[in-house]
Amino acid sequence: MAEKKVCDLFDCGHRACGGCGAALAARLVTQAAGTETIVVSSTGCMEVFSTPYPETAWKVPWIHSLFENAAAVASGIEAALKKQGRKEKVVIMAGDGATFDIGMICISGAFERGHDFTYVCYDNEAYMNTGIQRSGATPYDASTTTSPAGSHSFGNKRPKKDMPQILAAHGAPYVATASIVYPADLMQKVEKAINTPGPCYVQVHAPCCTGWGFEGEQTLAIARLAIETGLWVNYEMLEGKITKVRKVMRKPVEEYLKTQKRFRHLFKPKRQDAEIAAIQVIADKNAEKYGIDIKIPKKE
């Protein structure tokens, strides 16, 4: 007997690049959320690669309205479900541009109002759909098409905006960061967010091979290096308090930076020690703030 094909709720056949971190995030998030879910997407890569009319990769009810308004659309859906006595859960899937930048007002309003939804930001650290422009999530010194490295620039001049902290400050009961490289952890966090009443936020690190400049088969390795160097921290916050952090034996940031073309100018034509050191400081501060370093007790 032929084996019955088990399809994901985010189905195959979409148009994402091979090795797309965001597509993997969509699979894991929908799998964690289950069939009783309505997904709201913002404009962006994921929306475009998953729904070229008349095809759709979404096997759960799905809506895309605009770039900036996913949180407001979700507010309306949640209100309608409440009014109709329906039990579906509302999950937003939006990119970092839609979340950190253009959607900020809608997000702030929706979190302040306390709607019951889960907001998942797939963070690939720039506007990838429009051709790799910087966003508020782009890391320090990353070269993008609007923060290019050049004779007078080392790329993006500002560190990443601390979006989880901003939403925790709104009183979000559950805020977490996750990475596609740890799928069980990611799915657990999404489930937890969905089962926590009120507006919850999960920010998922989703490397973009096209935008960051690496081969598609390296996506998971690079996601892992981000965590191992302390440039991405996986943690959980309950009622604004950090309750769980993934600890690591930390590697120097250079090991992460040298894998991606967006940081190539830090190594070629000549090594920029001061800039690499500045990025190391960002990782060190993360390590201290979140306590990610595994401390091995000295032997007597």
Binding site: V60, I63, V73
Partner: protein, 384 residues
Amino acid sequence: MMEITEGSHAVAEAVSLCRPQVISAYPITPQTHIVEALADFVANGKLDAEYITVENELSALSACVGASAAGSRAYSATTSQGLALMFEVCFNAAGMRLPIIMSIANRALGAPLSIWNDQQDSISLRDSGWLQFYAEDNQEATDLHYIAYRVAEDPSILLPAFVCFDGFILSHTYEPVDMLSQEEADRYLPGFAPAERLDAADPISFGMYATPEYYLEFRYEMDLAHKRAKDVIAKAGKEFGSLFGRDYSALVEGYRLDDAETVIVTMGSLCGTVKDTIDEMRAEGKNVGLLKIRVFRPFPTEDVAKALARAKRVAVLDKNISLGSKGAVALEIRDALYGSGIPVRDYILGLGGRDVRKKDIREIVALLERGEGDQFYGLRKEVL
């Protein structure tokens, strides 16, 4: 039941009788009294709806998009700057064929900032795909909400609609209004039950992107729906008339028009002033009439051509201006009368709340008879 009430309050009562399930709005003068009244109805159990107090108008309409797509009857109200902030969502809601109703208490757009009435706001959303109704008085402003929902939610239409009524002039004026009972409203307007909605039991995708192979057809289908809406509005308006005695089957309505040589065309509250002036001029033996445009989108071009076929000359009073061209209503009237040889003159007036009185209507008739038009009317030369 007849009551003397403020226009905004009357509209809020009518909206409440339409049983919206989700209301989402942001305060802006002169719309505020509507959304305050609705909040009060919800707070006191008169209306069983989810009321979302959003952080701006873009979110107000976006929440309606979500609610409507999830299968709930959705409502919002705004004006002017608020409507301008919704620009993107307006096109989006229409493109997704979501029958949201929004009251527009018409107001001028800045700069310079003005809280007073004209119709530039809704006219500027002319091409967004929303049906546009304009009310002459508060009775019409209330009644048009039931009709708007009936038409918008008709499975052959599925388009959102503005019910426009002039800010302050109507919104803040007390008039007698005959209000339907809840039973009457329910008889006319059944519950919203869309064939397609966001539903885990039957997953579909809303708001996908269309390549050049598909986009043109989406716009064509919307235009077809607008064309069908002319009949649907006529039928819905007629049924309203047969049930409640006020017939809204006509998309354009003549007043002392049959033998009129000079015809004034306009929309909104100005129609009342024009009617009074016409009565006076008729008593003086002048053959003047009015053609009132109640529905601006879809534009009833054929009805206008028919109604104006016997006119000798037409003055269009526009409370809007497509800068560098003409008033939006005048452009439509010229299109409707193309080839007829009937002269159409445009008068831009009343912008930013400038009062228009009976003497002004008389003066415009005199200008028209002298062949002078296509101009701003009532300019204060001393401040230019």
